[in-house]
Structure formats: structure tokens, C-alpha cells
Amino acid sequence: MTLKHSKVLSARFDKENSQALAGYREDGGYETFLSVIKQKQPDEVIDIVKRSGLHGRGGAGFSTGTKWSFVPKQTDKPIYLCVNGDESEPGTFKDRQVLEFDPHQLLEGVGITCFAVRAKVCYVYLRVEFAKGIRAVQHAIDEAYAAGLFGQDIDGSGFSLDVHLHTGAGAYICGEETSLLNSIEGARPYPRNKPPFPAVEGLWGCPTVINNVETIANVPHILKHGAEWHAGLGHPEDPGSRLWCVSGHVAKPGWFELETGYPLQELIDGPCGGIRGGKQLKAIIPGGSSSKVLLPDEVRKVTMDTPGIRALGSSLGSAGIIVLDEDTDMVDACLNLMKFYAHESCGQCTPCREGTPWIVKILQRFMDGEGKASDLDLLLDLAENIEGRTVCALADGAMWPLTSIVIKFRHEFEAKIAANQPVGVA
């Protein structure tokens, strides 16, 4: 396995006016889409994406081609594609780079994906806080229609496609795929029970594929260069090129496109310039905030791929890496994240709706000098009664950072208890 910096998704980001259709087509853009819809069968495209080893980049990491293959081949109902651009996972800022700097790359992926799953309509769901990305994508959609790349009978192929942009309104839960469906339908966006899975019953009860922005942006490259090319990038069991987001206490935070399999410590020390101010590393949250925290010893040996991170009991999630230095108060960090989940809990399931604010109250007690030893067990007990007992994975994602911080940094909680002033002592 070779480890290298790669430029697949970000290859055009630095170009002047990289968002414009003219430049995208000069670079060969939409040639793959037009040749696919004229020369390939939908099932051939699904097979190529399956063999490429592409896994979803939104967080769950499911095989993209396999997800597509769940759409019924024989159905009287319309089939829909939804692009999930609700990017809200703390620590994650990769999709917005694609939206803002190369929206046609995404839209070419939309075209190919719709052809593969036999969808005639796509909704690109973007969080409303992405004003710049929304403008870029809407302009790109308008350009694609004007150039005859979307619409009826595209380039005489017989394939027709409509693409609409749909905006969210500031709720993290809408990044959960079934919540996103209810959000598009105009209902209160509570997640749905699965099964039925969206591929069978999604938007308006019709077969629907939901893919993350970065996932879809990979599709034109795979169809252009082939399944074997993609399968050969990075780690063989989890191949590809990803946009890694690094934030927190590093000298040079930002996004970096690297093949999977890259050593995490090298990413921090190299492209990120090490820990800010020459400090020592205390912990890393590796896959967006909904993943288990890693200690420096673990960071030193882990490579950034699903098998590597799973071996440490954590997950790669959305590839949002949050770096915390030696001065970080881990109780404070935990409280900050739990306030996030308490605020973003949709309120549908009791364990999550009641449990996450309760956890915030307990953590606040530690910060206020009123934490008790029994609170640590209470936190873990609560987590056990919340995880796995809700409709969607938001609560699970909240419990992973909580339990891993309480277990791995128990001494920081205990130090706060020890420092508490006994009541009545001056």
C-alpha cells in the first residue's frame, strides 16, 4: 500500500472560477455522464460502483453500490435520489468545499447516479447556513439545464432528469436519512423506523436513494477511471480518496485530501503542522463528534481507514478530526458536545429527549464544583439505557464520545470532585 496525498475530489478547487460550467467542460466534465447514459446499462454502472469499493462518506460508511442495488428493478412508482448536503456533524466541513468550489462535479455524479438507480428526479438537500454553497449549486443547476445536461431526453439519449435544490432550516437531525425525507415532505422531520428502508419506501413511499455529497462527487471519477482504479487507492478494504477535516488545537487546521490508510499521527505532524503552540496532544475525536475519543498512544498507531479505526473501537464517521491539546478540560469538552446533542435531539424518543439534557445537567454539576463520585456511574448507566433504544443513531452518536471520555478521562472528573469545597467550610 502506498500512502499519498491525492487530488481527485479537490483537483479543480484552486482553479479560477472553478464553479463555472465552461471550465468544468474544458476539463472534460460531463463527458463521462454523456457516455454513460448513451452506452451503459444502469446495472453495469451499479456493478462498477460496487466493485470500486466506494463506501458512503456521510458517516455510516455503507457500500454505495450495494445501497443502489436495493432499489427494486421492477416498480410502477417513481424513483428518487436525495443528495444529503446537511453537513452538520461537529468537526466536519468537507461537503461544503465540494459545493462551493466544484458543484458541477457533484451534479455530474447526480446525473450518473440517477441513471444507475433509474431515478428521474433528484433533490439536493442543503443546510440553509450554506448560503455560498446554495448559490453555487443553484447556479450550476441552472447552467446544466441551459446546456441541455438536465431536462428531457438529455443529448438524444432518451434519459430524462430533473434536479431541484431543497433547503433545510438548521436542524442536525435532518442529516439522518429518514429525517431528511420527512423534512423534504414538509412534515416535522422525525426519523422513521427501518425497515422499510428508503430504497424500498422513501420519499412519498417511493424507492429512494440517499447519498452524501462527497460520496456522489466520487462517482464521475469512478466511471471515468474504472472500478479497479478506485479499488487501488489507499487501504484495500476501505479504498478511496477522502477529504479529511482537521480542527481544534493544531497549528494549521483545514481540509486535506488523502488516500485512506494514512497514519493519523503523520497527518497531525505533517500537513497540520503539529499541535498549536508546541503543546502535547491529549486526545483526538476522529470521525466527527459522534465517535469515540482516541488517546495519544492510540493516535500514534492508527491509520485512517475503517479497519484501523474500528480495531480501536472508534469509527471514521464523517472524517472530521477534532484535536485536543494537553490544556483541554475534557469535562468541559464533553459538556460542550452533550449540549450539542441535547439541543439537536428531535424529541421523538424519550431516552434521547430526556436523557441528553439530563447528562448536560450532570456534567454542568462537575463544572460548577458540585460533581459527585456517584455521578460518574450515573452517566455510564444513563448511556447504557439510551444507546440502542431510539429510532435513529443520534443518541448512539452522543453516547460514544460521552462514555469514551468518562472512561478514558475518569481521572479528570475525579480531580474535579476532589477539588470541590466541602459545604460549610470557609
Binding site: 466536519t92 466541513f93 447556513e129 450554506f130 432550516a169 436542524a171 415532505e185 414538509g186 477535516c245 477534532i322
Partner: protein, 154 residues
């Protein structure tokens, strides 16, 4: 109730979906953009426009933080409070803004010019701290930059 241009935009959006109700959030955003907030009369108008009950509109309005069921100031500020921003300057930014504007979370200045709100992760973690001013993102902020931004919209 609304100018033709606003109604036409809502009609275009409604045409994107097989059921009118799906246009709910984007139509509410158009109305909010025109009116500043979603007062009860506007919610009833949207219900009629989409052929749904006012309660169906209200339960959506009250769910989303970026739909305003109460009046806002002329300019709305959303400061990101989530982890990476919090540890990279958002605490100082928040203290500065509450002091400068003389309001707490969700407060509106006495002259009605600014409403100060906190936001969860704005996907600007690598360029922290970040905030939205009237929906536009500003990143890599320092206190001088924030003063300049607020001065420019006053």
C-alpha cells in the same frame, strides 16, 4: 398579502414537488425573507397556499432554529458555539458581542438593530471561530473583524 414577486417565487418552488406540502420549508423561507419572521398571519397564508392546516405549518416552524416564530432584529447574528469554535475563540467572541450589544442569548438590542443567537456547528471548524451575519458566513474571526462587520451593516 404578499407582493406578486414573492408569490411567484413560492409558486415556482411548489412546482418542484408532487405534493404541495413538500414546498413547506423553502416557501416559509421565502416568506421569512420578505417579512423578517413568520407571524401567525403568514403561517396561515402558507397553510392556505400549500393546502394544509395551520397546525401543520406551525409544527414545522417551531421545529427549526432557522425559522423564526418570534420577531428578530434588523440583523441576525448566529455565533457557532460547538467544540472546535468554542476552543478556538468563540468564548471570547461571545463575551465581546454580549458586552458590545448589551444582550444575552436570543436577545435583541433596544434599538432593534441586532438579535444575538448561538448556532450549533456551522461547518467552519477549520476556520474557527465563525458566525453568520444575516445568513452569510464569516470565518477566522477576531474581535476587530467582528466590529468591522457589524459597523458595515449598521
Amino acid at each position: 398579502m404578499f407582493p406578486d414577486e414573492v408569490v411567484q417565487r413560492c409558486e415556482t418552488i411548489r412546482g418542484h414537488y408532487p405534493t404541495p406540502k413538500a414546498a413547506m420549508v423553502p416557501v416559509l423561507q421565502v416568506v421569512q425573507g420578505h417579512k423578517g419572521w413568520l407571524d401567525p398571519e403568514s403561517q396561515v397564508w402558507v397553510a392556505d397556499f400549500l393546502g394544509v392546516t395551520p397546525m401543520e405549518v406551525h409544527e414545522v416552524v417551531t421545529f427549526y432554529p432557522m425559522l423564526y416564530a418570534t420577531p428578530m432584529g434588523k440583523h441576525v447574528i448566529h455565533v457557532c458555539r460547538t467544540l472546535s469554535c468554542d476552543f478556538c475563540g468563540a468564548k471570547e467572541l461571545w463575551a465581546h458581542l454580549t458586552g458590545k450589544l448589551g444582550v444575552q442569548r436570543n436577545g435583541t438590542t433596544a434599538d432593534g438593530r441586532f438579535t444575538l443567537r448561538a448556532a450549533e456547528c456551522l461547518a467552519s471548524c477549520g476556520t474557527a471561530p465563525a458566525m453568520l451575519l444575516d445568513g452569510e458566513r464569516h470565518e477566522d474571526l477576531d474581535l476587530a473583524k467582528v466590529d468591522e462587520l457589524l459597523g458595515a451593516v449598521s
